[in-house]
């Protein structure tokens, strides 16, 4: 007996087809439900700010819906969606960067110390002391990541926090695998060096 099972790819394909051909809102709602976790957490890590992450993640899905006619099915739907996610986040960075358009330098500004950008993550680990240490370390790391260079930031989040493969990231970022690896390496090194500045008295 042959048991037919739908793979993730198949389900996405069916949903996408229904959206494209019939404007099926329920199908789109299912896609949102499926990918919102990954998209939101990426945006959150990217911006370090919950409010911005919500706005950008929402923007990502609106773009996906509007552009779905241009999705050719050559790559996986998820790769296509994540490319939109990465682009939308980098436009957000351009947004903040362009605030200083008339200035000659284009680096994101350092945060003020009382900035609410380093929001708390839920933490359910046991030992209270360890918990506090983890929380502090988490805040420091999150702050550093939100200030990494755009490509490094995207690659670091996808690889280290979301566990995506080099191959998948290469498809999303439209880079070759070697570039992904070297970008990741530089990103991690930048994080470690900045940690040194923050953690050492």
């Amino acid at each position: 007996m042959v048991i037919s099972t739908s793979t993730t790819k198949d389900i996405d394909e069916i949903l996408v087809r229904n959206i494209r051909e019939h404007g099926d809102r329920t199908a789109f709602s299912q896609l949102v439900n499926k990918y919102q976790g990954t998209v939101f957490s990426f945006c959150y890590r990217y911006t370090g700010n919950r409010q911005d992450a919500e706005d950008i993640a929402q923007d990502v899905f609106i773009k996906v819906f509007n552009k779905i006619g241009s999705f050719r099915g050559e790559a996986k739907f998820s790769t296509w969606l994540y490319s939109i996610m990465v682009n939308t986040c980098s436009n957000y960075s351009r947004w903040t960067r362009n605030k200083r358009m008339n200035e000659m330098a284009t680096f994101p500004p350092a945060e003020k110390e009382d900035s609410p950008r380093f929001a708390d993550f839920p933490d359910h680990s046991g030992d209270p002391e360890q918990k506090l240490l983890n929380k502090e370390l988490g805040q420091v790391i999150q702050g550093i990541i939100a200030r990494l260079r755009y490509q490094q930031r995207s690659v670091v989040i996808m690889k280290d926090f979301q566990g995506k493969s080099y191959e998948e990231i290469a498809g999303i970022m439209k880079m070759n695998m070697g570039t992904v690896k070297s970008t990741l390496s530089r990103g991690r090194l930048a994080v470690a060096k900045k940690m040194k500045e923050y953690l050492e008295p």
């Binding site: 809102r25 789109f28 709602s29 949102v32 439900n33 919102q36 976790g37 939101f40 957490s41 959150y44 890590r45 919950r50 992450a53 919500e54 929402q58 899905f61 609106i62 436009n91 351009r94 947004w95 903040t96 362009n98 605030k99 200083r100 358009m101 008339n102 200035e103 000659m104 330098a105 284009t106 680096f107 994101p108 500004p109 350092a110 003020k112 993550f121 839920p122 933490d123 359910h124 983890n134 370390l137 988490g138 790391i141 260079r149 755009y150 280290d160 690896k181 990741l184 390496s185 530089r186 990103g187 991690r188 090194l189 994080v191 470690a192 060096k193 900045k194 940690m195 040194k196 953690l199």
Partner: protein, 481 residues
């Protein structure tokens, strides 16, 4: 293996390096405490990243996406309907228009339309440093205004260039209109004036808020020795217009004059930045527009000043110049680096971590490496200008060290493609500002112009005059209208 090589491999240690490299790394780590510290940080980071909890998605996220989609669809349908209907009954519409003009309908909601330019009120906090105002503050104010008064956004045009609005049309219920006016007048630097003060409005009142955002560059655009200001409006009612604010008597910029761009000026409305410089040596400053192209690096366009505030395109100057590199660490500057009376183009890049290198384009000559510590994470500003009146371009750097006053430095051009310094220039500004350099008082020494409130046309423009010894002293404040 040395420290440099260790840094290359360490981020991929232990699982993604070959056994031979791993062994060499471990040997080095045993001997080098610095690299050991780095390795420990990397380990902590990766262990945190691997176990960090995924931030929770807001409970109603999915429904908000769907609502937003519906709202956009309704708006699109409305536009579609208007277009179709307009096409079908255009002749009837013409007749109706005449009827409309002759017999104005009683309940036309646009009877209550009010059009204003939104200028944020910038509160001065404390002495000395510039007032703080940024896009987020203004955005928050608008959201507050809407939530407090029951107003809703009827229509908005988003300026993708700035991520900010060109304009917003707000619908305010007549019952809360007086509250809205009070809130608006409290928060905005310009006041809504009621046609009939004190009279309660019936129905909905429509308010169009325009935002005058600009990009600007100073330059000697006319023949006198005082630097003028050139402004292009990137949003609001004047969107796309170019204006020059001439300065004939050291720092009165009030009288505006339109600048004429020969050719198709709509080519220059995109996501570009601009700087001025006298590239052809005719003593009139020209314009260089540049934008970052992901594949090619920086692309440039030149508009040459023909006098009388007219500019023409000139592909001949630095023709088809593209500057390779990563846009994040690239900056482009202009200045006469060799004292020949013609401004050169320079770019700043970061070939090594923390080392910013200046390269002059039209000479194909490089400056010796200029190390700018803390520049990379500072949101800092780098400017060129002749700060010591020797006709050679110098460099001014402003770091964003939040709690330090002495955070502006000048590097003098040694005339030998090297810089000496830094010399402290004593200047402290915080918040959202624009900083520009040119000779505003005509004494041959370049001064600084610091504008608070970012890219809004409004906000204080402060001239910090060069005291001829490389220090900048507050001199004048003015406003552009």
């Amino acid at each position: 293996m040395n420290c440099k090589e260790t840094e290359n491999y360490l981020p991929l240690y232990p699982d993604e390096v070959s056994p031979a490299i791993r062994k060499e790394l471990e040997n080095h780590l045993q001997q080098c405490p610095e690299c050991r510290k780095l390795a420990e940080n990397l380990r902590q980071y990766r262990s945190y990243a691997a176990t960090a909890e995924t931030p929770e998605v807001p409970v109603d996220f999915e429904s908000r996406v769907m609502q937003s989609l519906e709202a956009k669809k309704r708006l699109a349908n409305r536009r579609h309907f208007v277009w179709k209907a307009g096409l079908a009954v255009s002749s009837v519409a013409a007749i109706l228009l005449i009827v409309f003009i002759l017999f104005k309908p009683v309940n036309n909601p646009w009877d209550n339309a009010i059009e204003v330019s939104y200028i944020p009120k910038i509160e001065k906090k404390g002495k000395g440093s510039a007032p703080l105002a940024d896009f987020q503050t203004i955005d928050a104010r608008i959201k507050h205004l809407i939530s407090e008064t029951g107003a809703s956004i009827e229509k908005s045009e988003n300026n993708t260039l700035t991520g900010y609005y060109d304009y917003l049309i707000l619908a305010v219920p007549g019952s809360t209109f007086s509250q809205f006016v009070e809130e608006f007048n409290h928060q905005s630097a310009i006041q809504i004036e009621l046609p009939e003060p004190g009279i309660e409005k019936k129905g909905t009142v429509y308010i169009q808020l325009s935002f005058d955002l600009i990009r600007s560059t100073p330059g000697k655009f006319d023949k006198d020795p005082y630097a003028d200001l050139l402004v292009q409006f990137i949003s609001g009612r004047n969107k796309g217009k170019w204006m020059i604010y001439p300065n004939h008597d050291s720092s009165h910029f009030s009288r505006q004059h339109p600048a004429v761009i020969a050719g198709d000026e709509s080519n220059y409305r995109g996501d570009f930045r601009m700087l001025s410089g006298d590239f052809n040596g005719d003593s009139l400053d020209d314009l260089c527009l540049y934008h970052f192209n992901l594949n090619m690096g920086l692309e440039t366009h030149f508009l040459m000043n023909e006098g009388d505030f007219r500019f023409r395109e000139d592909p001949g100057i630095f023709s088809n110049l593209t500057i390779p590199g990563n846009g994040e660490s690239l900056a482009i500057l202009s200045g006469d680096s060799d004292g020949d009376g013609r401004d050169d183009l320079l770019w700043l890049s970061e070939p090594e971590k923390g080392v910013f290198k200046l390269t002059v384009v039209n000479l194909d000559t490089s400056f010796s490496k200029l190390v700018l510590p803390d520049f990379e994470r500072s949101g800092g500003v780098i400017l060129t200008g002749d700060f010591n009146n020797d006709h050679y371009m110098d460099i001014c750097v402003k770091y964003l060290k939040l709690y330090l006053r002495e955070n502006t430095e000048i590097f003098h051009n040694t005339h030998d493609f090297a810089f000496e310094g830094p010399f402290f220039a004593g200047l402290s500004f915080q918040g959202d500002y624009i900083i520009l350099s040119d000779d505003f008082d005509g004494d041959g020494f370049d001064d600084l112009l610091v504008k608070s409130g970012g890219q809004f046309l409004s906000g204080a423009w402060n001239i910090m005059r060069n005291n001829r010894q490389g220090k900048f002293i507050f001199w004048k404040q003015f406003e552009l209208r």
